[in-house]
Point group: C2
Chain length 548, copies 2
């Protein structure tokens, strides 16, 4: 092999600091508005933001923080949190955002596993920090994101963020870093086992910011006022804190109040054009908007992800309120954006009903992510909208391993997402299950989610879960576990008959179990693992008969 | 220094082949429509395009082409040219697009300087190839972009592109290339001296494609049908052949007929939503549309660049036809996109007249480009919209040297564009002159373009050029050279009086010379260098008097 002929282009590394420097330099007067924990509304510009991020870098360096060290945050969406995104990363340290909604023990595990040297926290989390501090002896300092006057009474000795910054002049030049240097650390919420860390690089964060900005992704422009409802402790608020400065967009940070009324009033008063968040928050917003009988006067689109967006929510936003909804899918291990359901030119020529169906799927990948579905032997399955298999992804913003884990999670160079999905001929992804929940019957797969969706459509069913039961002939067969609506009645036979014509015959559950309630996690997710334990000894009638 | 902590992300190089692979895989059915040199309209999909690009790669490899070799093109916008963008670059060779409108001697110089091994050409250029071939003995083969049936009678022995492709099966895997590998070679048109080559890398082309796709740049989405009027031999058609597959956009290639009627009919019949080109072509289109009294039924926006867009054209498109115009600036040395005049949220709240003024400027940079204006000593000048200095740029898609030139063109790591400009507090660029044309009077600069614009506004002036004349006290002072309108009369004194109150007093020319015509290049550009030679011995009255 000869040395390749190299292009003769400038060698400019992709550094996270370039994002805020670009905004400060070319959109210096553009505003960042924050509803503060202290109760008031704070306004400043990208120019001031970069200066304070530099002051933070100087303050951390003065405290002795070295490149590579982890600086953790426990904070809502706000300007100080944005500074904490850019200050540490700007000189090669890592910004480690922690979800304060996790159990205290989980947070302590994460702080200790990440070996965080300093933790920056909003004063709403003072009690949490007092509970954490004794469990995290290696933390060198806890820094309250406020001034001296607002320091809450605490057992833990804390530093004031504003005092630290005031001691610095901001006359700091961001160094050029190797673009593979670590930038952000985000832990998965960990429904099974301990949380695992995804350690992003500068390169991956900047490329993801380009991807997130694309017209078929968030389409963030300098003409937008962006309100991230998705918290900045949740996979870097889906990249908005990077995509907004990349494009010079105005930002409005909502702080801690994410109820419908607070969000609506902020959107209206600040003329927000774009927002992004999870379905639960949008449900609160839509409920408020309906009750108060008000309209959105500036909001024109929203990205909904985190969990599947209910079709009714899509329709309400689009058809009742004229707000375009972009359904999205991603995960912590992919920075997080993977797919978004925006339509192609050809798709937009189809019937409105067909377009609705497409928008309810998770959509197509953005450039930077490749995806495929594979069968249990790892062979790629066809893109016909019917075949479903485990979803694998790859690309420059997908992890290749977890932080401080030696074993590679990759399969043939691809990251297995743990989701089961179909991909149609348009390249549209539709997540049908989690791979650990799918039912493997006679070498074929049955989607537990589709079985549950049919059950929920029955008027007597309040909640339903479909799990695998072991079967001597088929390995696994589906068992439907049902909570009946108050006062409603339905029999096993009626429910099974309800499936006729709605799913393939061999997908119909072998049995139905009625229970008073289903087990859930603290964040409301169905605990199928627990349910499978409860029904481990359940004997399916077909298992006794020896036939389906 | 310790080794930095690296992120744990997949190491996926930014390769040009990923763009077409992405489109083929995720937007496989999306159409590419081409008006062919052969006279008909050709349709196929991204899937077929990638397959044929792979066949081309195989064919070139079979011919013995090695990675790093240059494969030249002399071709219009069409699907075979698109294949020529991806076939050679996909295996590490370089696609070298040549402007067939240059003088034959210049093209021969370029082919020989680049050491092109094969030249792919549209059959409209058969005579040009016959003229070139004897001057380019190192070219191993001339490949006509057509099938055997359409091969024109020629003196030069040529190969048929379709015959070469038919011998290959397309079963080829794009190799992963070092992203710094050379990808495209584009020569500047060279108004002074020989043309110079800009050698892009895979990394720069992919990053530029992200940048070109941004909502404040071309905003190309899968919902678009894109018609590149800017030729594919002109700085990679401003990146559209990369940005379109990156986003899965439908493409319509116009072939060789770029007159108003041909363009309009193609835009209408193919429902084009977005286009990009130089002012001259748009003038032809607008003239046709007005004469034929027709409207655009699908076109919603266009990028205009290459030379300054006349304000009247901006208004006609936007106000008479509802087509949004995005004024852009760039250059071959920067891949080419630098700035685009899209408005921020705050700017869009200003008066319509203020918005118009902003849109007439060249706009703000997109992320990936940084710019500054400097004084003759290299000190950065303020961004106040008044101070003007030489424009310097830098970024990952800006060259660091010219192909096969040893000396670096950079100044302190920045590329000096040769343009003189102001930047206002909004970060909006306004090009006021070429640095070689600016008049340096007593250490201060005078914009020749502004002086000319005033002169042209005088009813008796048909054309005007302002050049520097040497001056014993002020080093240089402006001389205005004027061609009078047929039948109109105006005196030196009347013209000089016309400047009162329109420019700073010391900007008023010291003298006026009346001529019958001004010297122009073959492509219609004013030859100021020639004009300065003609007036080298001109004595300014103030030089004699010794005072201004």
């Amino acid at each position: 092999m000869t040395t390749p002929l190299l292009g003769q282009m400038m060698d400019v590394p992709l550094n996270v600091s370039s994002l805020i420097a670009h905004a400060a330099r070319h959109f210096g007067d553009t505003e960042i508005v924050s509803r503060r924990i202290e109760g008031d509304v704070h306004r400043y510009t990208y120019r001031e933001c970069e200066k304070r991020a530099k002051q933070l870098a100087q303050a951390l360096i003065a405290l002795g923080v070295q490149p590579g060290e982890r600086i953790a945050t426990l904070a809502w969406c706000g300007y100080r949190h944005l500074e904490a995104y850019y200050g540490p990363t700007g000189f090669g340290a890592v910004c480690h955002t922690i979800n304060p909604r996790l159990f205290t023990d989980q947070i302590a595990y994460i702080v200790n596993h990440a070996d965080d040297s300093y933790v920056l926290f909003d004063i709403t989390f003072a009690a949490l920090v007092d509970a954490l501090a004794p469990q995290c002896p290696k933390v060198l300092g806890w820094i309250a994101l406020t001034d001296e006057a607002h320091l809450p009474p605490m057992q833990t000795p804390v530093l004031s963020y504003e005092t630290l910054l005031a001691a610095q002049d901001g006359a700091y030049e961001w160094p050029a870093l190797d673009e593979r240097t670590a930038s952000y650390l985000c832990y998965t919420s960990g429904t099974t086992g301990n949380p695992k860390g995804a350690l992003y690089s500068h390169r991956s964060a900047v490329l993801h910011a380009y991807g997130a900005s694309l017209p078929d992704a968030m389409a963030i422009s300098a003409g937008d006022t962006v309100l991230p409802v998705v918290p900045m402790f949740h996979v870097n608020a889906w990249g908005i804190p990077h995509a907004a400065p990349l494009n010079g967009a105005r930002i409005v940070f909502p702080g801690k109040d994410l109820d419908g009324k607070s969000l609506y009033e902020l959107m209206e008063s600040e003329r927000v054009t774009f927002s992004a968040g999870v379905p639960t928050v949008w449900l609160g917003l839509l409920t408020y908007v309906k009750q108060a009988d008000v309209r959105f006067s500036s909001l024109n689109r929203t990205v909904i992800g985190g969990s599947a967006c209910p079709p009714a929510m899509l329709r309400t936003f689009q058809e009742d309120y004229g707000v375009k909804v972009i359904h999205a899918w991603g995960m912590t291990e992919m920075s997080p954006l993977g797919t978004l359901a925006t339509l192609t030119w050809e798709q937009s020529q189809r019937s409105l009903e067909d377009q609705r169906t497409l928008r309810e799927k998770q959509g197509h990948v953005i450039f930077g992510v490749d995806m495929k579905i594979v069968d249990p032997d790892g062979r790629e399955l066809p893109r016909d909208g019917v075949a479903f298999g485990e979803l694998h992804v790859r690309g420059p913003w997908v992890i290749n391993r977890y932080f401080r884990k030696d074993d590679s999670p990759l399969v043939d160079g691809w990251f297995p997402t743990g989701d089961v999905a179909t991909i149609d001929k348009d390249g549209f992804l539709n997540i049908t299950d989690r791979s650990k929940d799918v039912i493997k019957s006679g070498g074929e797969w049955i989607s537990s989610i589709e079985i549950e969706n049919v059950a929920i459509a029955h008027p007597a069913v309040a909640e339903a879960a479909c799990i695998a039961c072991s079967h001597p002939k088929w390995t696994e067969r589906p068992l439907l576990v049902v909570v009946k609506r108050k006062g409603a009645e339905v029999t096993r036979e009626e429910l099974l008959a309800f499936y006729q014509g709605k799913v393939a015959k061999w997908w119909i559950p072998d049995d139905v179990a009625f229970v008073d309630e289903l087990p859930h996690t603290a964040t409301g997710k169905l605990q199928k693992l627990r349910l499978r334990e409860i029904f481990r000894d359940h004997v399916l009638p077909t298992a006794v008969a020896g036939a389906v």
